[in-house]
């Protein structure tokens, strides 16, 4: 080993540009990186390898092992000893959840998302300028939609937001604050589950409780709690961050905004391209453990016992698959990016996220014909030390 393993996640510097560390990363299938915990892991970079490894049973998601790398020294996220994250158990439990995310169910939520959007944009228009887009719109929209889907009362929304921030801290907060946030969130959700059990509603949490109480073999208490937490967190932080960050990137490229305004049918492909190029989080959440040797496309081998990260952002920039990968092209048609993963663990909420991003992008641009960034794009601050890397503030003017 002659070179030092670079730190991962890679830095967004300047903040509007895809990390320079991703350039030329595809000459080999994988590179060694250093995680925030200081532990080493192998970062897989080529699209072909990433895509097939997402579906490879020789990579276990169970990283609660003594010799597995840790993401963070201060937060044992993803190492819940009560949860089996591998098939066949994981697949059975997952299917109880995915049935709530079919195209028909998501399209049923589209008018709900539109109504919430219109309300938030009314308030933003009537409020002070410049407005901070994350606070005024990007965060409230997905929070309200996921609360509706899960059956969380509107008055509870503010309770869990700070806890979620702590829950997702990698190096941002000290360990005691992370522990407190995790404890708060755990207690809040335990109470919520109990109140739903007493008074079920027409929502996903109530539906999961019903499955749990009818048959303990299909879903136990740990799994119920784990999935509700995951749905709540993944259901909004990611989409919220992508709405704010994706909009900022669009506004930083007025020529793209004009293209969309001239042809609104481009909204879905623009949303996909922003998902491909502007991943608002790194791939630390993909950490896996090799339970066998696995050959890669460059002829090298992941040896048994290695901790592995599947780099969605590097796969999305692979020149073998994406023509001019570092260029934002909102007209790409074959845009099978890895932002939602692939295989058995493909993001449960992908269709929901896509729907919300489409509604948000089109509604914002239609409502404010002169929407623009209130500060230069390259001065927008990016989040550090957490799972999310999107812009923390997006001041806009119109």
């Amino acid at each position: 080993m002659t070179t030092e393993a670079p730190s991962y996640p890679f830095a967004w510097e300047p903040p509007m540009q895809v990390p320079q560390a991703l350039q030329g990363l595809h000459d080999k299938s994988a590179v060694q990186v250093t995680l925030p915990s200081g532990d080493k892991a192998l970062l897989v970079t080529r699209y072909r390898d990433v895509r097939s490894l997402f579906a490879d049973h020789r990579l276990s998601r169970n990283i609660a092992r003594p010799d597995a790398a840790r993401i963070s020294a201060d937060n044992d996220l993803f190492t819940n000893p009560h949860i089996d994250p591998d098939p066949p158990k994981h697949t059975q439990v997952r299917s109880l959840v995915t049935r709530a995310f079919t195209a028909r169910r998501i399209e049923g939520l589209r008018p709900v998302a539109q109504e919430i959007t219109d309300e938030l944009l009314d308030a933003m228009e009537a409020g002070p300028r410049p407005a901070e887009l994350n606070e005024a719109f990007a965060f409230p929209l997905p929070i309200r939609v996921i609360c509706k889907l899960l059956g969380i009362p509107p008055e509870d929304r503010s309770h869990f937001r700070a806890s979620v921030d702590g829950f997702l801290s990698v190096s941002k907060l000290p360990p005691e604050e992370v522990a407190k946030a995790r404890g708060d969130l755990f207690r809040y959700l335990a109470e919520l589950i109990e109140s739903k059990r007493a008074e079920p509603g027409d929502d996903l949490i109530s539906a999961l409780i019903k499955v749990r109480d009818e048959d303990d073999n299909r879903l136990n208490d740990h799994e119920l709690h784990f999935w509700v937490t995951g749905l709540l967190i993944a259901g909004y932080v990611t989409t919220a961050s992508q709405i704010g960050t994706g909009t900022a990137v669009l506004l930083h490229h007025p020529e793209l905004v004009k293209e969309i305004r001239d042809d609104w049918s481009l909204v879905p492909s623009a949303v996909e391209e922003l998902l491909r190029t502007q991943i608002m989080g790194s791939s630390v959440g993909t950490l896996r453990y090799a339970i066998d040797d696995i050959p890669l496309t460059d002829g090298s081998v992941i040896t048994k016992g290695t901790s592995v990260l599947l780099s969605e952002e590097a796969a999305n920039m692979d020149p073998e698959v994406f023509d001019r990968p570092f260029e934002i092209d909102i007209r790409r048609t074959e845009n099978h990016h890895m932002t939602f993963g692939a295989g058995l663990h493909y993001c449960v909420g992908a269709a929901l996220a896509r729907m919300e991003l489409q509604v948000a992008t089109e509604s914002l641009l239609r409502r404010f014909p002169d929407l623009r960034l209130a500060v230069p794009g390259d001065q927008l601050p990016r989040a550090l030390g957490g799972f999310m890397e999107g812009f923390t503030e997006v001041p806009v003017e119109w």
């Binding site: 699209y47 072909r48 895509r51 997402f54 579906a55 997952r94 299917s95 995915t98 049935r99 995310f101 079919t102 195209a103 028909r104 169910r105 998501i106 496309t297 698959v321 048609t333 074959e334 099978h336 939602f340 993963g341 692939a342 295989g343 058995l344 493909y346 449960v348 992908a350 269709a351």
Partner: protein, 79 residues
Amino acid sequence: MVMRVAANRETCVVSSLCVYRAPTVFAQDDDLGQVVVLDEEPGDELHAAVRRAARGCPTKSIKVTEPDGSTVASAFDFD
């Protein structure tokens, strides 16, 4: 010869991508939301959308046999 479409429900993870890409060819069942093929021999005008659905399926659960007998199994299947 015609294009033929088949889907593997066992491996479907309910991404819903195929339903959005070719809604007259793919649907989802009422129970677990897994893929159902509505049109096993889609007409020419649907071929491009069906190929895109097959390439984009995150679990390679859609198999398309082209009129010439070749198959589209998934995105960028290099090997």
